[in-house]
């Protein structure tokens, strides 16, 4: 369903329609390109709405099956930052692949990237790793 229908359903303020939205795949398709926001005559920040709906759908366990990969990606990404303070692309990608089972995806691309010097095998963390770990702890509890 297009985003106008997502918002229309929410305007009903009915639990039934809310559920239809939270279970939809639509809310996971937004690229946050912000084009709609910049052209909206009512300045609705649709990407922000979509962020919120995703959080809600995960929290309530209603997330669309196709969103699994995206969720796994975010987990892998955040895990990498929480550990090193910066993103370690290979580590993150391996983590993502294990989480999703897409073990063979982009295998050839990966080796090409490595040849071009675009992938670092070892993570380059920051000095003050404790600072970032604390940041995670204070804002999200103890989980990564």
């Amino acid at each position: 369903m297009p985003s106008c229908q997502v918002l229309r359903l929410l305007q009903y303020e009915s639990s039934e329609n809310d559920r239809r939205v939270l279970e939809s795949e639509s809310i996971w398709l937004c690229l946050s390109c912000d084009t709609c926001h910049s052209r909206c005559p009512q300045t609705i920040n649709t990407p922000k709405v979509m962020y919120f709906l995703r959080e809600e759908s995960v929290r309530l366990g209603l997330a669309h099956p196709k969103s699994k990969d995206a969720q796994a990606f975010h987990k892998a990404f955040l895990g990498s930052i929480a550990r090193h303070g910066r993103l370690h692309e290979i580590g993150m990608l391996m983590n993502y692949k294990f989480r999703t089972g897409h073990l063979l995806q982009d295998m050839t691309l990966g080796s090409k990237l490595y040849q071009k010097g675009k992938l670092e095998l070892l993570p380059h963390g920051i000095e003050d790793k404790a600072a970032v770990k604390n940041l995670f702890k204070r804002t999200t509890g103890d989980k990564e």
């Binding site: 910049s38 990404f77 993103l87 380059h124 940041l135």
Partner: protein, 297 residues
């Protein structure tokens, strides 16, 4: 002149050539880059999933570190990092309460004064020097591609105009390039989170951009965003498969294009790292000067 520098994670690995070319060009322009000590990842679009507080904290730490190092302006060449950091800077600028809260989270003070600039905003200031340092006139038709994150949302980017932006076109024109008038300047390449998770969507969206640039007879797509560059360059096999075409139009970072014009060694600019080989035709012959947007159609 000196300015704070926030390379961001991509520029240390998959977009290494952007970092290399930024440093090379800034050196030519006598602009000293002072890397923010011990910067951390801005959190990109993933931090939001774990909550707004974490997302803001990750970004604010970098601003606070910059401030502690005495930097009041920082350059974030990566469009995503720019967008994330700038939005934090704007959000915190007029909100003492929020600053107070975030200072506690990151364990550092922040007074809200650091301004975040993208690559184009910085280069715009050096248009005259760029023209002066151009050794080999870059007389090519180029498609300047801005993407989403440099101009939107207006409140955050505070830069150029939101539809049909002009800054990169003017920067490139300073080297003698002929920016084409095209309609995909600010179309989305499909990055979001789907670069890796939804490759089929990316090929579709990026494909339209490559096809449009090719149709307008551009010999290179110029960008200032690692995500855009990656999608248009690294995903080219998928794009060509989707379009049933063999587009070979290279995708250069704006700093790489400027570097070539200034006569910097291609190796130093990291051109060898591209997936689509960077092979530019002979520059177009110098003809009677016309307006930069002569009719393409």
């Amino acid at each position: 002149m000196r300015i704070g520098y926030y390379p961001g994670c991509s520029l240390t690995s998959s977009a290494r050539e952007y970092d290399e070319s930024v440093r090379a060009v800034c050196e030519m322009l006598d602009l000293t880059l002072v890397e923010i000590p011990d910067w951390n990842c801005c959190g990109a679009s993933s931090a939001h999933v774990a909550g707004a507080e974490l997302a803001l904290g990750l970004r604010a730490r970098n601003l606070a570190l910059a401030e502690a190092a005495g930097l009041d302006e920082i350059l974030a060449p990566c469009a995503a990092c720019f967008n994330r950091l700038a939005s934090a800077s704007v959000e915190l600028a007029d909100a003492p309460d929020k600053r107070q809260a975030v200072s506690e989270v990151i364990g550092m003070p922040y007074s809200g004064k650091v301004r975040v600039l993208n690559m184009l905003a910085v280069l715009e200031r050096f248009k005259d020097q760029i023209a002066a340092k151009t050794e080999q006139s870059f007389r090519h038709k180029v498609a300047c591609y801005y993407g989403c994150l440099l101009v939107r949302p207006t409140k955050v980017a505070q830069f150029d105009r939101v539809e049909d932006p002009q800054s990169m076109d003017q920067i490139m024109a300073a080297t003698g390039a002929k920016p084409v008038r095209w309609s995909s300047k600010t179309e989305c390449c499909g990055t979001g989170l789907s670069t890796i998770t939804r490759t089929e969507l990316v090929a579709n969206l990026s494909g339209r951009i490559v096809a449009d640039a090719a149709k307008r007879e551009a010999v290179a797509i110029i960008t200032a965003c690692p995500m855009c560059q990656t999608n248009l360059d690294m995903r080219r096999p998928e794009i060509n498969q989707k379009l049933q075409q063999k587009h070979r139009i290279p995708v250069l970072y704006v700093t790489q294009a400027l570097g070539l014009a200034m006569g910097i060694d291609p190796q130093r600019l990291g051109l060898q790292r591209h997936m689509v080989p960077v092979e530019l035709p002979e520059p177009e012959p110098e003809v009677v000067t016309t307006d930069d947007d002569d009719d393409e159609d």
